[in-house]
Symmetry: C2
Subunit: 313 residues, 2 copies
């Protein structure tokens, strides 16, 4: 299979064997500023370049992970916050100018769920929830061995579920979404508030004169700074409550947490694990493991490869 | 097919044709006080009685809707709040003394989702969310034409998802579940509080000297009582926010609301419809209809029939 991970900054492609070996990796800047048609041309070019290097013929299918809602078959991208100018863009059609291959599409969260269920910590799992904690919060769900796609392939927006009816305003326009607590931007927002107070000395020191980010909070938390730990405790509690909801909704054998924010580790996942029992039925909870992704930055790339297959077997 | 709806009070059975005609209905009191073995005997007896009346031979499969978490194949019931003494009860095994038929099991919420997707307002829908608003809140989900079962058949507990991190205590032991806002007991709880104040005159009048129930609130709301309408507004807002989350999670073509509380109609569903846009992505929301169940009390019975088939086709 061929796999492409379309990011806001980088465009990455690789060939992937059925047993999960990534070969012939190649990456180029996305160059999103040039507009969707130019990016589509770059994707097709990269695909053919990797195919040629890997010795794959025109029959090899490709999967493309897109950072936003996308129709699995037509590749119509409704919108994507990370790529300016992409609104109702027919990516599938645009690719046809540069490649004759069969291409399937998925949003990066759904791809990551597929990647984990086929090649990652969830290899072999038929019921798996994947949560991507990054600048935003996304996700994907495998139920009974199949991706939960929904009627338009737009399912799996696990970051945009209410956890606090009167909570903070979200980037999506809603209020109180999981993302408003557990996303990188939400952690940075809380830390910026604290940094302006007497409790924020350690945060200010780590930030030097730069902006307060989730990475700064992690650094301060690693030193045991109480303010940083309290910020991650709040984020982790909301995360644990939402994971509890997903456990009750999906009765999964595995919840996988990936993305940059997940690398904060126990300072975030500890509070989540402690909150989880208060928000899930004991029977469902006992059936579930909570794990960190082992595929790292390649999760969506593996998922794009899995997309090229019809379903998780 | 044969279908059984096991309720806390009544045990109902019927034969169901492939095109969705219920015939040869028969009901008896559950007699839950006699213990699980006695109830299992009654279920088997009722099944054989209906089969004989309908002229169905031993090859006809049966589905049983259970008011609690149940393993779809073995019929092991982990527990059920409505049937005293049912804990880790092997219903499948117990039935074998009285019937030789193939029997499949499902909790009543999952059965109702199957019933709606096969025979109800969602007939033909491949992506459907069913919410049962009764004394408690349950549900079930059809994704890509199949029931979302989870690893132990316990998925679909849609009433027990957090919507308010610091919300009211739930019957399940969690805090802030959807059920703590939208269940019959939650509406009654809010109304009981209001009834003790000056604003509660209409509620007190409708209750006469009896307890304040959701039905009392509905009666007062129907007369335009502001206190009753405010109670249903609060419940409806939480319901709409949770439905928004389900829309983002599942991208369904249809959300069906059933159960006794759903009969409150627009006083409850109006606020839910108004809250929904604030809690779901526009694209997913535009793809979804919100409808009331048309199968009424027979939803789980139809679902039990659908269970007897392998999946929704």
């Amino acid at each position: 299979m061929l796999a492409v991970d379309l990011g806001g900054t980088n465009l990455r492609a690789a060939a992937v064997s059925e047993d999960g070996k990534l070969t012939h990796r190649k990456g180029v800047p996305t160059g999103a500023g040039d507009g969707p048609e130019a990016v589509a041309g770059r994707i097709a070019g990269l695909l053919e370049e990797v195919a040629a290097a890997a010795g794959l013929d025109a029959a090899a299918a490709a999967g493309v992970a897109v950072p936003g809602p996308v129709d699995p078959r037509s590749g119509e991208v409704a919108f994507t916050p990370n790529l300016p100018g992409w609104r109702d863009f027919q990516l599938g059609e645009a690719l046809r100018a540069g490649t004759a291959r069969a291409v399937r599409f998925g949003n990066d969260g759904n791809c990551a769920a597929l990647g984990e269920a086929r090649f990652g910590v969830g290899a072999g799992a038929r019921d798996l929830v994947y949560l991507a904690l990054g600048t935003g919060v996304g996700g994907g769900v495998i139920s009974g061995g199949r991706l939960v796609e929904g009627v338009g392939g737009l399912a799996g927006e696990l970051g945009h579920v209410v956890v606090a009816l009167d909570g903070p305003r979200c980037t999506c326009g809603s209020v109180g979404c999981l993302e408003t607590f557990a996303a990188g931007w939400a952690i940075a927002r809380d830390a910026t508030t604290v940094a302006a107070t007497a409790d924020g000395a350690a945060l200010r020191r780590h930030a030097a004169d730069g902006a307060i980010t989730a990475t700064i909070v992690a650094a301060a938390a690693a030193e045991g700074d109480p303010a940083a730990l309290a910020i991650l405790e709040r984020a982790g509690r909301a995360l644990g409550a939402a994971i509890g909801a997903f456990v009750n909704i999906f009765n999964p054998e595995l919840v996988v947490v990936g993305g940059g924010v997940a690398t904060l580790g126990d300072a975030l996942l500890g509070p989540a694990r402690r909150a989880l029992p208060s928000h899930a039925f004991p029977v469902q909870r006992a059936a579930t493991r909570l794990e960190r992704s082992a595929l790292g930055d390649d999760t969506a790339l593996y998922g794009a490869a899995a997309l090229a297959l019809a379903e998780v077997r």
